[in-house]
Amino acid sequence: MTLNLGYFQGIESSTTEWKTLSFDRGRGAIEVAVPVLSETQLKSLCTRVKNMSQTYLKTIPVSDLVNIIDTTISSFLDRTNPYRQQAEDLLPRITGYDPEMIRLGLTSYLKTFRKVELNRFLSEDFSNPKILDEFQPLPKGGLGRAYGPDLLFHIWAGNVPGLPIWSLVSGLLVKAGNIGKVSSAEPLMASLFSKLLAEIDPKLGECIAIVWWEGGQNKWEEVLLKQADLVLAYGNNDTLRQIRNRTPITTRCLTYGHKISFGMISRSALDTGKSWTTAHQAAYDIVRYDQQGCYSPQIFFVEEGGAVSPEQFAQFLARELENFENKFPSRSLTIEEASIVASWRQSEELKAFSEEKRAFLADPNGRWSVSYSETAGEIYPSGLNRTIQVFAVGSLREVPSIVKPYKAFLQTVGIAASPEELIQLASQLGAIGVTRISALEHMTTPEAGWHHDGRFNLLDLVTVTEVERTAETAAEAFSDYVD
């Protein structure tokens, strides 16, 4: 039986059209059905979600919302829960990722949405989260209250499984009604999360809808862009540009586009005791979700002068990529992905052949490749899917000037360096647009409450209504108790 994905209330599912999506990524073929609502149905869904957001969601204290989300996430963390089991079974088949990588990835991701982390998330953006519930005193004087949009329209990419949960949780925490359009590449997790949430709090479930339409089909998108108070879109820059151009000028549109992330290894992490661990951690960052995340490294800059040379580090890295093939075997690639990898490999191999001071290490079957260069000239993206460039540098301090031309695209830097170097590098990197610095092995697992692309995830979603001090003072004159 084909599994129906998507999620919505108030429309008979028999009255909607269902489109079958087929997946065959080498881990068992599967078909799922996604709903294609008519424009009328989509409009009525918008009204319904907006209405529920106003009449129900906006009345719940944020601490209660935290508890409901926490309960949902606890169920999802429980490996005996049917939704969790469905995710563990279907995600590898839909995405092609190794089941073990998915299983471990789900747990490490979902646990960042437990109660304590959600509270951290809130207090990261709001010094007093009660500002989401009622007017609170503001430090500058007067009172303020933060309002989430009645309808937040999410447009998700499918690069990393489960990412829509991040933006759905953000929307719910600021009491937004949410309609999310899932990507054809990963329509599962947003649907499962919403169904599970609706089981725990059916009325909260009515504040969410998960829909789908073929990418590039603008008529459905137009409906939502017109109805939404706020648009949150993920994808490549061309897609985002089009979405932004079609969004009414009165509607805010927040976009998360393509990014480049990289790693930096100091000579202090390259002694004979620590260098293998450093390479192991770097390889993990490459392997996890096959470099599909904006935070996944595409380049490692390795400092010369350590006991282990940058070239030796590249060899360690190659060996660890091979070892990870055993733990998290790579997925079979689409024709498009395979051709990108093949042309990247061909070009890097050719350079290694024709230029001295270069080396190319690769698995003969194309599952991973490491391109090493003794000089860091012009940088360029890797072929993704476990292809990585390793550049030797005399000093890590040279790196910011090398990557500076790509300022608009920089995001995460994984650093293995001493505390003094870390702070020194962080200030240089921050100045050229890097927004996140993590330890190696954690590049692809941002901590709860991280500021995605340096932005305030929750604060960006709200508008604040201020009661100025003058209004407060003036009101005193009209009180019953005025002397």
Binding site: L104, W276, H280, R319, E320, N323, N326, K327
Partner: protein
């Protein structure tokens, strides 16, 4: 193909390490007896894979903790093929490897030891008793027992299980001494942590990482890693090796 026309019995071969060994033999042309106790679907799948790989396979259900069922198993094989060339003692009593909740020595009863000794040694003993007369008639035969590297390096002291595995190594050495004169060889392989198998499915990531960190080849074993050394010990390439234990753990144990 190295094992063409050879009849190989791998006990407990529907899943995990046993299935990997069975498939490796099949890929070298052997006829493999897929023995299982419960999971017939897995046994059928493994048998089909064996055929795809170019070998032959026959599925026989038998609980090798029962002497009676062992006799029936061997009789059925002889009826069909009139010989057995290689015995791989892979099936043992299931054991839960839970490093965080294992029994400490003071919690381990003699009965726990007895159960494991029965679970590990009884089936090997009985299978060897049943099969050796057949081997002796042809003055050749090969027995491979699956032990564990924890015998040499008890990273986690699973007292009862590992004592039984240590006994299996002693058992194999003594048997090798006695049956060598009939041209029969007896060896052991001792894998480290093998993942994924039913026994290791719940092994925590922290423990796996700790083992990986101390292992020269920097990973843990997959079921397929165990197959190569078993095939080597079963082949003429190891014709002058008997009574030995080969460690399959990426160099964690060196001796």
């Amino acid at each position: 193909m190295k094992f063409n026309k050879q009849i190989v019995l791998v006990t407990g071969s529907s899943r995990g390490i046993g299935a990997a060994i069975a498939k490796a033999f099949a890929a070298e042309g052997a006829t493999v007896i897929i023995n299982y106790i419960k999971n017939s679907a897995a046994a059928i799948e493994t048998a089909e894979k064996c055929k795809e790989l170019g070998g032959s396979a026959k599925i026989i259900q038998a609980d090798v903790s029962s002497g009676e069922q062992i006799q029936k198993l061997i009789d059925e094989i002889l009826q069909d093929f009139s010989k057995i060339d290689i015995l791989v003692n892979n099936a043992f009593k299931p054991y839960i490897f839970d490093s965080e909740n294992r029994k400490q020595f003071h919690e381990t009863s003699w009965n726990d030891y007895q159960e494991q000794l029965d679970g590990v040694l009884f089936s090997s003993y009985t299978l060897c008793q049943t099969i050796l007369p057949i081997f002796k008639k042809r003055t050749k035969g090969n027995i491979i027992n699956i032990a564990s590297d924890l015998v040499a390096r008890p990273t986690i002291p699973y007292h009862d299980y590992m004592t039984a595995k240590a006994a299996l190594i002693g058992f194999s050495r003594n048997l090798a001494m006695e049956v060598g004169q009939f041209g029969i060889r007896v060896n052991c392989v001792a894998p480290g942590l093998v993942y994924p198998t039913d026994g290791s499915m719940n092994t925590k990531e922290g423990l796996k990482e700790m083992i990986i960190n101390q292992t020269p080849l920097r990973r843990i074993a997959a079921p397929e890693d165990v197959a190569g050394p078993v095939l080597f010990l079963a082949s003429s390439w190891s014709g002058f090796i008997t009574g030995q234990t080969l460690y399959i753990d990426g160099g964690l144990v060196m001796r």
